[in-house]
């Protein structure tokens, strides 16, 4: 009960149980041609873009910031990758795809560094600073693709999202690797502790000799890179660079995943495992909503309800109210025996 991952994990298990009861084929996994298939495998595969974006968002939120530009960065990286592949002579060559992916990630890194510059060097509020790129980024992506939806047929590029590597989807391995990398860097070095220090009290940590500027800058750069990879996976999945649809609303889902995982939006202590669980909850919920026959366009209503419930549960006034209630119950229990004695006497 006390462990902070208790509630998120409980919610995820409950969701999976409800789904399994409602439709028996949900939990079943079939093996065909040496590959796993099934609803659970789909969830693992489809959660890759949101997982990567949410990972970056977790680190940024830990520094008391927020990155609204993730969706726009996804659009730019997808546009860069597909434009390179589209303009090359052989779209199926592995080398071309590698170059495209690397250049796209570098472009995303550049955008992340720009966000970090505005926040840490100029000192603009994170919401406002990343709003600039959120607004202009999609415009840049549209310019790169020339206003069209660039489509390509490239086997190596499609492999990124639809390919399999030993039984499981390749996209699944990408996000596992990203989670492991971020987890190792944050938790096996002092960086995680320093990040939390910056988030809890920027001024105090600066006075204590923490280089908060560099840490904040790195967080936004990391968020940019992870969003860039997410953009490549998204583009690979639809085999197109759609500057308007790529990563639409993903910043909202990523923030929701981070909050669901128990990381406070006020910065400070963060949980990468919590974010992983949060993303899986969102993907499972999405899958259940689709199963109920609700159009995916209508699913935001459910997520709105989830957001409202979660923020109300987390809200300080509710905690104060519950504590007061608990105190009054406890004090009544303490006074009751004496009144019993009085009645007996």
């Amino acid at each position: 009960m006390k462990h902070r991952l208790f509630w998120p994990v409980a919610a995820l298990v409950l969701l999976i149980l409800i789904n399994t009861v409602a439709r028996s084929q949900f939990a079943s996994i079939t093996v065909r041609d040496g590959r796993f298939y099934g609803a659970l495998i789909d969830i693992l595969r489809n959660s890759a873009p949101l997982m990567l974006v949410s990972l970056g968002m977790t680190v940024v939120i830990a520094t008391r910031g927020i990155d609204l530009s993730v969706g726009a960065v996804m659009a730019v990286s997808g546009a860069v990758a597909l434009t390179i592949i589209d303009s090359s002579a052989d779209a199926n060559s592995l080398g071309t795809v590698m170059v495209a992916v690397v250049v796209a990630i570098l472009a995303a890194l550049l955008l992340g560094v720009w966000n970090g510059f505005l926040v840490s060097a100029i000192g603009i509020q994170p919401i406002v600073a990343t709003l600039v790129l959120m607004l202009a980024g999609r415009g840049v992506a549209l310019l790169i693709t020339g206003g069209f939806i660039t489509t390509v047929n490239s086997t190596p590029f499609s492999f990124i999202s639809t390919g399999y590597l030993v039984l499981l989807p390749f996209a699944f391995f990408i996000w596992v690797a990203a989670v492991a990398a971020v987890g190792l860097i944050e938790r096996r070095t002092a960086l995680g502790v320093l990040t939390e220090a910056v988030g809890i009290n920027p001024e105090a940590s600066r006075l204590a000799g923490v280089r908060s500027r560099g840490i904040i800058w790195t967080a936004y750069a990391a968020s940019g890179v992870l969003s860039g990879i997410a953009g490549i996976i998204y583009a690979s999945n639809i085999r197109a660079a759609d500057a308007n649809a790529a990563g639409q609303f993903i910043e909202l889902y990523a923030i929701l995943a981070v909050v669901l995982g128990g990381t406070s939006l006020m910065g400070g202590k963060f949980s990468i495992a919590g974010t992983v669980v949060g993303v899986l909850i969102i993907q499972t919920l999405e899958s259940s909503i689709l199963f109920l026959g609700v159009s995916s366009a209508q699913s935001p209503v459910f997520f709105a309800a989830v957001v409202i419930i979660v923020v109300v549960i987390q809200s300080p006034p509710l905690h104060r109210f519950v504590r007061r209630l608990a105190d009054s119950v406890r004090s009544r229990r303490l006074t009751e025996p004496t009144s019993d004695l009085e009645a007996a006497g």
């Binding site: 927020i66 505005l118 100029i122 000192g123 603009i124 509020q125 919401i127 406002v128 600073a129 709003l131 600039v132 790129l133 959120m134 607004l135 202009a136 980024g137 999609r138 415009g139 840049v140 992506a141 549209l142 310019l143 020339g146 206003g147 500057a243 639409q248 909202l252 923030i255 909050v259 939006l265 159009s295 366009a297 209508q298 699913s299 935001p300 209503v301 459910f302 997520f303 709105a304 309800a305 957001v307 409202i308 923020v311 109300v312 809200s315 300080p316 006034p317 509710l318």
Partner: protein, 339 residues
């Protein structure tokens, strides 16, 4: 000697005026800059693009095409003034618009359908305001929930667009009061009236001063101001403005469409900031927000006249937003140093 003596104080007076103006009205500078940009855009387009850019027709169309943005900007200015933000406005506009269209299609009279759609906007605003004030949720997150809710509800009402046949709604757009080459539609009049009411409330009433005070300092309640009531009210106002914008956009496009206004919240925030309202709250002008919308609309018109990609609009607005934010930061830093 006497000439010099009399001349020196006069010169000092000029610089004094300037200094007094700068210290008292420094917050007016961004708005004046926005007006200057608007004028420069018009003159530049007139000279370099085509000779008939500054024409009654073109300026009249500016108000017609951007009436819904002006309405949203009025609500957003109130919210931003308190130091909050409302991301739900575009979705609320889509939801109220499609609901209005659905009710009219079902044969409901406009006298019932219009209040119903405005009420829907107000209720979403109330929800956001209550989350912000009573549950201490960050405005950004609370209005995010509002965005999701309204967008989802718009699709619940209808997945496809609904054509509006109601003549009263359509006449809001098609009626043109002409003054020579100038014209104005009822939607334009509605937008201007709402701006005037909004400006009056913001600058000349106790409610308006309370919004300034909340944005300037969260401890405003110590001065006996009704902080919680006002905080909730600004989000309700923004919701109602979203409802009005839904009506205007429905009249403008002749249909309700659940995908309307995706990303409009960003355009509105950009317009309000360009118009001189400080994103951290406490400083700004209602008329400035309208100027901000016109800057946005003019850039859009120029881009389409040039035949360039519309995506340039987003990029230019993004750059303008950045410049204004940096300038505002400099102004705030300076006035903070002074105090």
């Amino acid at each position: 000697m006497t000439i010099l003596e009399s001349a020196a104080p006069a010169r000092r007076k000029m610089s004094d005026h300037y200094r007094v103006f700068m210290s008292r009205r420094a917050s007016l500078l961004p708005t004046l800059a926005a007006v200057a940009i608007l004028i420069l855009l018009f003159i530049g387009a007139e000279i370099f693009l085509r000779g008939d850019f500054i024409s009654p027709r073109n300026i009249s169309a500016l108000l017609l095409d951007n009436a819904f943005l002006v309405l949203l900007a009025v609500g957003m200015t109130f919210v931003i003034m308190t130091g909050g933000i409302d991301l739900s406005v575009g979705s609320v506009m889509a939801f109220t618009g499609i609901w209005l269209a659905k009710l009219l299609e079902a044969g409901t009279s406009l006298a019932i359908a219009l209040p119903a759609s405005l009420l829907a906007g107000a209720l979403i605003g109330l929800l956001i305001g209550a989350l912000v004030q009573y549950f201490e949720v960050q405005p950004f997150i609370a209005s995010l929930a509002g965005l999701f809710l309204a967008r989802g509800l718009a699709f619940v009402v209808s997945l496809a667009s609904i054509k509006v046949e109601n003549t009263a709604v359509l006449s809001l757009q098609t009626t043109r009061f002409r003054f020579g080459d100038w014209y104005i539609t009822p939607t334009g009049i509605l937008a201007l009236v709402v701006v005037l009411i909004g400006g009056y409330v913001m600058h000349y009433t106790r409610f308006g001063r309370t919004t300034y005070a909340i944005g300037g300092n969260q401890q405003a309640s110590l001065m006996g101001l009704k902080v919680s009531r006002t905080t909730v009210a600004v989000y309700v106002i923004s919701g109602v403005c979203g409802g009005l914008a839904g009506l205007v956009l429905t009249a403008y496009s002749g249909a309700g469409y659940p995908r309307n206004g995706i990303g409009t919240e960003l355009d509105v925030i950009a317009a309000v900031v360009i118009g001189g309202t400080l994103l951290t709250g406490g400083r700004g002008y209602m008329l400035g927000s309208m100027v901000g919308v016109f800057v946005y609309g003019t850039i859009k018109t120029i881009i389409s006249f040039m035949g360039a990609e519309q995506s340039w609009t987003q990029i230019i607005i993004g750059v303008l937003l950045l410049v204004f934010i940096v300038v505002q930061r400099a102004i705030v830093a300076r006035s903070d140093r002074r105090s």
